[in-house]
């Protein structure tokens, strides 16, 4: 048996992340004792409509978040309990709504820092409406084997250690949340565990008090003794003593009261809880409470540590007098174990999971990213540059100094070609439309394809093919291209020609052939091809895409990576254009009418829509 929370308790949690965490802890208890999920709904307007994932053991439940308590109760009429986790400034309103709701019998408030006046009003309102308002600042309520409200009881392991999977004979009432857990443990260690435990919270004016729950425990036949943990301040412990002394009570009371040290501490010093403050003229002091409880017949050891012995003694007395009948203890090994997460099981090597993706280039699971095994900072320290990172991530190789210099030059001369080309122009139009940097740059990027900038890969690919299949037969290669591909990628330019050569091509070819020792079979082959094609037509020169493609093939980059160099280089330019337009605060672009040939039909009347064909 139990008090206030039991097998029939169904709860709504009002509040955000703290409430969700509590719901997850509560579901662990639900799993332990195999009861239905306690938390049936959340109320938290910012997350209206979301579903929160709650595991009851291995079973995944989706619990809905509602914007109001009214809606939550409309769809979940079985709810009879509300847990308030929402911030102090909204706690009063939420609790009042819950007290107003017809089906709700118990409201327990976990929120801390609630104004005293609000707590006083809620206490009064609960009395008027005949409901229970527990808290504020309550860690929760536990009924062993029946229901857990809040994070009371701590982690899963502790629930078992404190025998909370089955009822015992001790009730627990504490102000402190931490000590509610301690008291439950003491009852399990020195007795047979608890029926229910309630944390009333350490505020000055809790909604319910020791007497409220003493009465309930007195009426719960399974509860044979109650452990009270109180502290200096207020008169709730004195009232408990009065209750105990007033008539003969069935239950035994064991108590511990904190704050006897106040005599030696600075006057008026505040303890951990808001309600713990000195009483005037002795009343409310820990000493007054201890004396009152002892006079009323409670067992009050002189330190908290003495509670162990006191509980044991009371338990043994109750056993001897036959009030508590010893029961065979459950074999704890039969209790369910919380299903571990995949991560936990994998750590122990007990499960094999087929990976979803595979990577061969980088790993950031350690203290810093590693590129193909090399720590990024170490690369920096040892004088490597961005070309080396490209070499590693694109080709899993560290380029030589010479190779790096070539890569650097390729990127430098490809970075930007002015605003008129498709890519830059696309980015500029987007920038002028107020589009943000990543989207504006990708607008330019989408232009890269067969007609703009996309020839590097194909140039590299086909010249490489030529070197391999037609090493000494340029006409044979050109013939094959004509039949299978069409114009040779990397050959030809709209404006440049033999007489008007592309300076970039000239520079790159000169640099690679004269200033480095790079072996360049592909570039050499392309230059041979150029000799033949320019003989046919003046502008069929090896263009910059072709040149770069061949050099990159000679640098041993995979042919499908080659466009990446253009993409990478041009990104620098496109970002530049976006920044430039933003700096100028450029206006939205609209084409002038005179730049458009409106080849459309003249203005005409819209006919009536035909009913049938």
């Amino acid at each position: 048996m139990s008090i206030i929370a039991n097998k029939d308790t169904r709860a709504v949690i009002i509040g955000g992340i703290a409430g969700l965490n509590a719901a997850r802890r509560m579901a662990q208890f639900d799993f332990l004792i195999n009861r239905p999920l306690t938390v049936q709904a959340f109320v938290y307007p910012p997350e209206e409509g979301q579903q929160k994932e709650i595991y009851r053991g291995g079973e995944l439940n989706n619990v809905t978040v509602y914007s109001s308590l009214e809606k939550a109760l409309e769809e979940n009429p079985q709810i009879n309990t509300a847990l308030i986790y929402i911030g102090a400034s909204r706690a009063y309103q939420s609790a009042k709504e819950a007290l107003d709701a017809k089906g709700i019998k118990l409201v327990t408030m976990i929120t801390e820092g609630v104004p005293e006046k609000d707590a006083k009003r809620l206490r009064k309102y609960a009395i008027e409406t005949g409901k229970i308002f527990n808290g504020p600042s309550s860690i929760g309520i536990m009924s062993a084997g029946e229901c857990r409200l809040g994070v009371i009881g701590g982690e899963f392991k502790n629930l078992k250690l404190c025998n909370l999977y089955r009822p015992g004979s001790f009730g627990v009432i504490t102000k402190s949340g931490g000590l509610s857990n301690e008291a439950m443990w003491l009852c399990a260690q020195n007795g047979n565990g608890i029926t229910s435990a309630v944390a009333i919270g350490g505020d000055s004016y809790p909604g319910t008090d020791f007497v409220t729950y003493l009465n309930m425990f007195e009426n719960d036949p399974e509860t044979k003794a109650v452990v009270i943990v109180g502290e200096v301040g207020g008169t709730l412990e004195e009232e408990a003593a009065e209750w105990l002394g007033k008539e003969i009570r069935r239950i035994k009371v064991i108590a511990s009261i904190g704050g006897t040290c106040q005599d030696v501490l600075p006057q008026g010093m505040k303890f951990g809880h808001a309600g713990a403050k000195e009483g005037k003229k002795g009343l409310g002091s820990a000493r007054s409470k201890i004396n009152a409880l002892r006079a009323a017949g409670a067992v009050v050891p002189d330190t908290f540590g003495g509670l162990s012995k006191a509980i044991k003694q009371v338990y043994e007395e109750l056993l001897q007098t036959g009030v508590i009948k010893p029961e065979a203890e459950l074999d704890e090994k039969l209790l369910p174990a919380l299903p571990p997460s995949v991560q936990e099981v994998m750590k122990q090597g007990d499960v094999i999971v087929e990976p979803l993706i595979r990577t061969t280039i980088s790993d950031d699971r350690g203290e810093e990213p590693r590129y193909v095994g090399y720590a990024a900072s170490e690369l920096c320290e040892k004088g490597y540059g961005i070309e080396d990172v490209i070499g590693l991530l694109w080709n899993k190789k560290l380029p030589t100094k010479e190779e790096s210099e070539i890569i650097k030059r390729i990127i430098m001369i490809s970075a930007d070609h002015g605003p008129a080309v498709s890519g830059a122009f696309g980015s500029i139009i987007a920038a002028c439309a107020g589009i943000d940097l990543p989207q504006a740059v990708s607008a330019g990027m989408t232009m890269i394809g067969p007609r703009f900038g996309g020839a590097v890969t194909n140039a590299g690919k086909y010249f490489k093919y030529g070197v391999k299949e037609y090493p000494n037969d340029i006409p044979g290669f050109l013939n094959w291209m004509k039949q299978n591909v069409g114009p040779v990628p990397g050959i030809g330019h709209r404006v440049k020609s033999v007489k008007n050569p592309d300076k970039r091509v000239k520079y790159l070819v000169d640099y690679v052939t004269n200033q480095t020792s790079l072996h360049t079979p592909c570039l050499d082959y392309a230059l041979q091809v150029e000799k033949i094609t320019t003989a046919k037509k003046d502008n069929l020169i090896l263009n910059v895409d072709g040149t770069i493609g061949c050099i990159l093939v000679d640098l041993d980059f995979p042919e499908y990576s080659l466009n990446g160099f253009f993409v990478l280089a041009r990104t620098i330019g496109m970002i530049g254009h976006w920044i430039d337009q933003n700096n100028q605060n450029s206006r939205l672009i609209r084409l002038y009418d005179y730049l458009i040939n409106y080849a459309v039909k003249e203005e005409r009347e819209v006919p009536e829509k035909k009913q049938t064909t």
Binding site: G113, P115, K120, G177, V232, S256, Q267, G272, A276
Partner: protein, 398 residues
């Protein structure tokens, strides 16, 4: 509970129509001279100068000077500002009009669980304690406002007569308004004085406590509560308070000079029981400390280092109940780092450490703590099977 200084209390009184004497709060004596030029009352009234700080026994310390003219008030302010009293420094003084008066009354209101209680006496001033049986009490249920007739009746019963009873009732009704609307916990006006020649009333001294948790609904609370420990905070206490204000969960510290048992305890409830256990066993605590609500490990580390620096300590009690959600492993890693750091700076020599704790990840936390033995710490580690405060007995018997 948040006690506020006289200045802010007077400001709130003014807001709710409770008569107060003219007053100014200053940090610089020269400001008083300038204010004197602007305010006739400063030039023509007798003045009182009081240190505007949370310092007990101001009268005996010479921090209250009565019956002064403006020049004398200037000298008094100059003398007080900057004075060091224990760990506190006088930074502000309040200069108020010293009303010549005929009688002194007592008026107060304090909250309780069911509402509040108004107290009235026509024998206020320093003798109020001796005349406590003359105090008339009026119970005010929560969210109810007593009628002016009811308050007047109470005033009459308290011995006020005629127009004075009516005027006192009026002031009391405003006090109730102020109490209710400012989320006050208690307000005591002693004395409320009257100058009968012109029937002028004034609250000459006020002690007011407000509910600091309610500050979210008081945009005009431009003050801070004064120290709650009857003295100003030490530098170490202030540092821990600053950390406390920034973190999830909490860390708290109060130094108790002269003690030799340091507390590094967890939880608002358990920490008090540890203090009690030390006192019950005849020991003397060097501090009260508490961390709770799963605070970040760096905050616990800072608290640990502060505690290790306390002078003359022989034992440190790292105690706590079985936590509900404070991670023992994480908070202990903060404590362990704090211990190591302190030891490397030469602290913790001949200090014994006593640990008892339970809660999430307790095994790892306790094991890590135990490993400190290998580093030369005198540390004794116990798990949940050790009764909570019994490590205090062990420490004191060692």
């Amino acid at each position: 509970m948040a006690k506020i200084l006289e200045g802010p209390a007077m400001k709130l009184f003014n807001k709710w129509g409770i008569p107060v004497p003219n007053y100014v709060v200053i940090m610089d004596p020269d400001r008083l001279a300038q204010l004197g030029e602007a305010n006739k009352w400063l030039r023509e009234s007798k003045l009182v100068v009081k240190a505007h700080e949370a310092i007990g026994g101001r009268f005996k310390l010479g921090l209250v000077k009565l019956g002064l003219n403006l020049d004398e008030a200037y000298e008094a302010a100059k003398e007080m500002i900057g004075r060091q009293i224990g760990t506190s420094v006088v930074r502000q003084v309040i200069v108020a009009e010293m009303l010549d008066h005929d009688e002194e009354y007592y008026l107060s209101i304090a909250g309780n669980r069911d509402g509040s209680e108004l107290l009235l006496s026509n024998r206020g001033g320093v003798d109020i304690e001796d005349n406590w049986d003359t105090v008339k009490r009026l119970v005010i249920p929560l969210d109810e406002t007593p009628s002016i007739e009811a308050i007047t009746e109470a005033a009459l019963q308290a011995g006020f007569v005629g127009e004075i009873a009516e005027r006192v009732a009026k002031i009391a009704s405003r006090l109730i308004l102020c109490f209710d609307n400012e989320d006050a916990q208690s307000i005591e006006i002693n004395p409320l004085v009257i100058r009968k020649s012109d029937m002028r009333f004034a609250a000459l001294d006020a002690v007011m406590n407000v509910d600091w948790d309610a500050r979210f609904r008081h945009a005009d609370w431009d003050f801070k509560p004064v120290s709650e420990i009857g003295r100003s905070y030490t530098e170490a206490e202030q540092q821990i308070m600053d950390i406390d204000a920034r973190i999830k969960g909490s860390v708290k510290l109060v130094e108790v000079p002269g003690g030799n048992i340091a507390l590094l305890t967890a939880g608002g409830g358990a920490s008090v029981f540890y203090s009690d256990a030390v006192v019950a066993r005849g020991g003397s605590i060097a501090n009260y400390a508490e961390y709770s609500g799963d605070p970040p490990d760096w905050a616990v580390e800072a608290l640990t280092e502060t505690i290790c620096r306390l002078p003359n300590i022989k034992h440190i009690i790292v105690g706590g109940a079985i936590a509900n959600f404070t991670d023992v492993k994480a908070t202990f890693s903060g404590i362990i780092n704090g211990f190591r750091e302190s030891k490397s700076k030469g602290y913790l020599e001949n200090v014994q450490i006593w640990v008892r704790r339970g809660g999430p990840n307790e095994n790892q936390g306790l094991a890590a703590m135990k490993k400190l033995q290998e580093e030369g710490f005198e540390i004794h580690v116990y798990d949940r099977s050790m009764p909570m405060t019994d490590i205090v007995d062990l420490a004191l018997n060692s």
